[in-house]
């Protein structure tokens, strides 16, 4: 393992300290926790948004703390959900009196830990609502299993629900928007190389020089299919097909596109993917209204990318266009 770290055990804490110092005009840490709050939290007169999850997805989630997006981000250990006490502290500190909205990615650990925190907060009389993001089409959607994973599409929830909250909408209305985003967002990813969790020191799986893993999650867990690597256009086509064939009917509609790098894929390659995505959508009578290319939800040093499409209506377009000022997302 070759990494720029001091000690594996201190990675998350030291990262948060460095993050806070780099973005002191946006965030402040909550003493004794792994929570980063909006500098001016609690902000009154609006619903507070909290997201979080395992670390290793930077700039998610602390990068989205700021005006128009999150009020707090809770960081867990690498790829491990934060614990209920941490989320609970975040809820108490971020609550501006209008209630708290939790954005949870659909992983068993995240769901359980956030729900326990929600129960603790509700017991203290704080109104809490939540959405569970599950945009990854690689995983079969079935009521008998956990359902799908939450990946890069989560950033669209932060943006849209955050903008809605900033307008002064009620907890109920923020939830409606978040659910609308979830219902209209689909993603799929591919990995070219695995990633290494500092604490374990070993890659989570191995790929031959000429192999790729299709349908990858964002925690180094294996994908759904391993195959020979092809061209950028062919890979993008394969992911897009899966996304387009899924249950959201994108045909003839307007969409927001995100081409998200997983950590070690250069921006140049992401742009090559985007070139194909735009052309392919245009040819299919799908109109792209917003495009985001870059690293939004990474998986440590994994090489690869994901493609996310969100079908947008007037409300979602307007929320994407609303002002946002955070370390990793500005509008």
């Amino acid at each position: 393992m070759k990494k720029v770290i001091n000690q594996a055990d201190n990675v998350v804490r030291e990262m948060l300290e460095g993050f806070e110092e780099a973005h002191a005009d946006y965030v402040r840490s909550l003493e004794g926790t792994t929570v980063l709050l909006r500098k001016d939290a609690p902000v009154t007169g609006k619903v507070s948004l909290i997201s979080g999850g395992g670390s290793g997805h930077e700039p998610a989630h602390a990068g989205y703390v700021g005006e128009g997006m999150l009020d707090a981000a809770v960081a867990g250990e690498m790829f491990t959900s934060p614990t209920p006490d941490q989320v609970f502290e975040a809820i108490k500190a971020a609550n501006g009196g209008e209630g708290v909205f939790l954005v949870i990615k659909n992983y068993t650990g995240d769901v359980m830990n956030f729900e326990m925190a929600r129960e603790l907060a509700e017991a203290e009389g704080i109104s809490v609502e939540q959405v569970v993001v599950n945009d990854d089409v690689a995983v079969e959607d079935s009521s008998f299993t956990n359902g799908r994973r939450g990946i890069a599409g989560t950033v669209f929830v932060h943006k849209a629900a955050g903008a809605k909250a900033a307008e002064g909408a009620s907890l109920e209305d923020v939830k409606k928007v978040a659910e609308k985003v979830v219902a209209n967002t689909r993603s799929m990813g591919v990995a070219l190389t695995p990633c290494i969790v500092p604490g374990s020191g070993k890659p989570s799986f191995t790929l031959e020089e000429d192999e790729m893993e299709v349908g990858i999650g964002i925690h180094g867990e294996p994908g759904i299919e391993r195959k020979k690597i092809t061209s950028a256009d062919d890979i993008a086509e394969e992911l897009l097909q899966k996304v387009l064939q899924d249950s959201v009917d994108f045909q003839g509609s307007e969409v927001a596109v995100m081409v998200n790098g997983l950590g070690a894929t250069p921006a140049s390659e992401l742009y090559i993917v985007n070139r194909y995505v735009q052309k392919r959508l245009r040819d299919n009578d799908i109109q792209v209204t917003h495009t985001y290319v870059g690293e939004y939800m990474t998986s440590l040093e994994m090489a690869g990318f994901s493609i996310t499409l969100m079908k947008v209506d007037e409300e979602l377009k307007q929320l994407l266009d609303a002002r946002a000022d955070t370390p990793a997302f500005r509008k």
Binding site: T83, G109, M112, N113, M116, G199
Partner: protein
């Protein structure tokens, strides 16, 4: 056997020792069908739990379990943190005011733990999770009188090994569908260590 605070503390110490020496193995199991953090999660949680209970004087077994629950809940994270935390919380509630804790009390406690975990994780037996170990162990304790420690360990071990052939439908391994077959479930393995440790303490108390 009867469990007093010394045995309860010894249980956690032994469980921690087993988890620390199998930390890498638990991580390997989780790398095969999960995200490779189970060894780290369990090692972090039980290390702290052991430190807490070894350094505290207790009046009741319930207090030991309550501290274990609080530490595990706030230190493990992942899916297993809330589950093991819930398990010890339910056990603590069940053995409240019981001193010493009898075999029958312990059987009730493990059953309450199982029910709490099922409620929290929404998993049933046969979904390739730690429930697959807790379920038969709870049944075994409930049906037995003068339970033998060896049999307890055997029951847990067999249940752990049987998770190998199950296709996961809960937890991270469920994303692999058929590919999850052929690997033992990491959480079932750490649960086995927990019951192996209990059996060990039990033997010493007989």
């Amino acid at each position: 056997m009867e469990m007093k605070t010394e045995q309860a503390v010894a249980w956690i110490e032994k469980a921690n020792a087993l988890i620390q020496s199998n930390k890498e193995y638990l991580t390997e199991l989780d790398q095969a069908i999960g995200d490779g953090d189970h060894g780290l999660n369990m090692s972090r949680g039980f290390q702290e739990a052991e430190a807490k209970v070894s350094g505290t004087d207790y009046d009741t077994v319930a207090d030991v379990f309550k501290d274990v629950a609080t530490v595990l809940m706030s230190k493990i994270g992942g899916a297993s943190g809330p589950l093991y935390g819930t398990a010890f919380l339910k056990m603590s509630m069940t053995v409240k005011d019981k001193d010493p804790v009898t075999e029958a009390n312990l059987a009730d406690a493990v059953e309450a733990a199982l029910n709490g975990m099922k409620q929290r994780g929404k998993a049933e037996q046969g979904e390739k999770t730690m429930i697959d170990v807790w379920h038969p162990v709870a049944d075994f304790l409930k049906n037995g009188q003068n339970v033998q420690a060896d049999k307890l360990e055997e029951t847990a071990e067999r249940a752990m090994n049987e998770t190998k052939d199950i296709v996961a439908t809960k937890g991270r391994a469920a994303y692999l569908q058929e590919r999850s077959k052929g690997h033992v479930d990491p959480g079932s393995t750490s649960s086995f260590y927990l019951f192996q440790a209990l059996a060990d303490v039990w033997k010493k108390g007989e």
